[in-house]
Amino acid sequence: MTDKIKKATRHTNQNEGLIFEKSLPGKRAFELPPLDVPAADPAKALGAHHRKEGVEGFPEVSEIEVIRHFTRLSTWNYAIDLGMYPLGSCTMKYNPRVNEFVARLEGLATEHPYQPNELSQGCLKILQLLEKCLLEITGMDAVTLQPAAGAQGELVGLLLIRAHHTKNGNPRKKVLIPDSAHGTNPATAVIAGYEVENIKSESHGQVDVAKLRDQVTPDVAALMVTNPSTLGIFEQRIPEIADILHSKGALLYMDGANMNALTGITRPGDLGVDVMHLNLHKTFSTPHGGGGPGAGPVAMKKILEPYRPIPILLEKENGRLVREFNRPDSIGKVKAFGGNFGVLVRALAYILAYGPGVRQATEDAVLNANYIRKRLEGTFDLPYSLPSMHEVVFSDALQKKNGVNTMDIAKRLIDYGFHPYTTAFPLIVPGALMIEPTESESREECDLFIDAMRSIAEEVAQTPELVKTAPHTTRVRRLDETAAARKPILRWKPAEPRSKAAD
């Protein structure tokens, strides 16, 4: 086994309890400079609001314990800095370190959103340049940088659509969503006040244009499409789809999660898309950080521009940038204090590093995906034969015969030093293995991945039990998720003092 696994693995052995379990009264990790004004009497100043004791149970540890505690925890994580994440639709690419550096600059990290415009021209120029770049990349007319994540971007997109229809006299009732869509799409449509109507994909996993023609009634506000689809396949008839929708006064929303296949190659605006969101933490390299923060800007055609969240950025005659709040048709705000500025800075740094050459990132992403597809074809079942773009979807049909499914294979992949690919999505492929390598993977890493997957396929044929009971080399194995859901323990509590009766 050890000579088959060629990748570096994690240090799994040390134990590290909860920080509360190391806490002892009187230890301190941080000191403040001395108070330079008379000390106020909190009881007098706060009256009944006074919290007489410190926060009960709050940790009391030293600085080195904090450093060791979190350093040790970090060693239990897989990360892009360690190796590939073949996660489909997540676009786990390299997070450039210069992005971290510039986001932390004094004069950027320190700025207060309510400081006057004349003291914020640097920040506003950053926002303006990012807007211009995103418009150039998407082929759209206007953009909002306010949404805090992709899901919020989707909501803004749908609210813009709703505002447009309402202004035209009828908000309409339904949003059409393909059965291959990401879960945020229907969840968001409901929050935007629409009913969800599913539209089944045709035999190649694409939007069924004939069905679409029937399903687009005057009640339909929009179709939410992902392009490339969640199968990693380009929606070839998307201009036709746009026409059908537009002929009935409906709009086309594009989920931009898969922009990593399109940047520099084609532009959604040119394809007929009316509004779309981008995931800066996917296509534009901002770090996932264990689950956020992200940013989900929304780019749109002119017709939706008046409904943008406030404030919008305006350039005055003298070149000064201001934030304009007086926009009567705006949908309002979805988040306080503007967008996630720190994330926006990182995305702009990424774009500036590439410049017009950003196309090469897309080419390498598509090259990697197709290379993996070619070398794993035959080993794993390929349910849809149309060309893949930046991701490829296999199924576990061949392995099911030995009683092994995609979840098992994914867990066994961990033993080979990789993070699993996306399992069980999209829903239209039973037993899916959704693989997106991104352009950040070297040929060597791709080959290691391919070798690992082939080795696992052999294990499925020879020793399926080994795969079904994976992973074998991790710090914890087969965590009991059922118990966690039946009797949730969601916080640490100090041990109960023993009662006198028990003594």
């Binding site: 998720e481 059922t482 966690a484 859901a485 039946r486």
Partner: protein, 133 residues
């Protein structure tokens, strides 16, 4: 597990058992097996009215949520108190201790049109065939 012959069954995998005009409702062994370990069940309280064919609650496993459809209409007289702390009863004894609610039927004729045990067993056999095709 055998399907009790005196119960009636729906295509959505609920079962009904009658005692006079009080019907006990639960999900079948097939359903609990498909769901996996049940972690939570959400059912209406006594006094709530349910309508045949409409959803009246959910049963959750770690990774999935299943809507439960009312096999017949009526007013809930009792919800199974055991489900609160031991939802696993639905897995262990789906046709017995894992019952969900009892209702007073408003239209007893509705139950008659449901499948009997033989028809249900044939139905799930055909479902299994389709799945592996």
């Amino acid at each position: 597990m055998a399907y009790p012959t005196n119960y009636r069954y729906t295509k959505e995998h609920e079962w009904v058992s009658l005692q006079g005009d009080i019907a006990t409702i639960g999900i079948t062994d097939y359903a609990q097996h498909e769901l996996g370990d049940v972690v939570f069940a959400e059912v209406p309280k006594a006094g709530a009215k349910i309508e045949a064919g409409k959803t009246f609650g959910t049963v959750e496993s770690v990774k999935a949520v299943s809507d439960i459809y009312a096999p017949a209409s009526g007013e809930v007289t009792e919800a199974n108190a055991l489900l609160q702390n031991t939802p696993e009863k639905i897995n262990a004894d789906p046709h017995g201790e894992g019952w969900l609610i009892k209702i007073k039927l408003s239209n007893p004729a509705e139950v008659g049109s449901l499948m009997d045990a033989a028809a249900y067993e044939a139905y799930i056999a055909s479902q299994a065939k389709e799945a592996s095709a």
